[in-house]
Chain length 126, copies 2
DNA sequence: CTGTATCCCGTCGGATACTG
DNA sequence: CAGTATCCGACGGGATACAG
């Protein structure tokens, strides 16, 4: 890993994994992906019902960025009232196993991590 | 995935993977982990040299949170001038394969993703 | 050498109200 | 039903200066 590579990894635009982490790292993206994986096809308000604590604004923003990255397919049915369906793309399907690995690792280690945090807080307290 | 589970996944404190993503999702954590993996043991300023674009403040903050989570071990040598060494823990070693999977997936798909983003921008432009 | 302390700004995300 | 528009507070992260 030379200096050239490091510079690229420091740059959000040039670093591939930063491009991905900047998406799934934000507050709601992962949850939307997991719900869509399980339910397969959902309308906007159905998603909102499943993830009731998300605001309309953030659900909209999250879905748009997922659509922009080609991870979610959005289908509009031209009718009144409007009907819009969301579903995962093949690209998202290929990412989901890695996400599940992360979820599993987190579940396995979260207790030890929280214990570490408490201990760290104690020993660093003045 | 029932409502109870979803509420937990919406809550940063209760959701295991959010606890992990909130760490590796920030700007510098991943890069620090990868450099430490390759170099094994580094002092503060050596890390700063490898990752020259990080500010002293953020390097300090990033290392502290990694240490708090038990992902990095910090060793102080009581001498003047001070010498402090950082190295990965076994916990971090167990996480790194998943990170490499993410890096690989990102490298594989980043071009297609960027193409999708450009296309999305075009079709949504007024 | 290994950090802290301030100040400051941009972005993320929440609340609320409004629209085709 | 499926969003947008607006306002606003909190927080991540950069620049700079200082300290043990």
């Amino acid at each position: 890993m030379d200096q050239e590579i490091l510079k690229k990894y420091s740059n959000v635009d040039e670093c591939p994994v930063r491009n991905v982490l900047d998406r799934i790292g934000n507050k709601w993206t992962l949850l939307v992906l997991l719900v869509l994986e399980e339910q397969q096809v959902l309308r906007f308000n159905e998603l909102h019902t499943y993830i009731s604590t998300i605001s309309q604004k953030m659900l909209s923003v999250t879905l748009k960025s997922l659509e922009a990255d080609g991870l979610v397919k959005r289908t509009i049915y031209p009718q009144v009232p409007p009907k819009v369906e969301y579903e995962l793309t093949a690209r998202a399907q290929s990412l989901l196993p890695l996400i599940h690995n992360l979820v599993d690792w987190s579940k396995t280690h979260i207790n030890a991590i929280k214990t570490s945090r408490k201990h760290y807080e104690l020993v660093t307290r003045k």
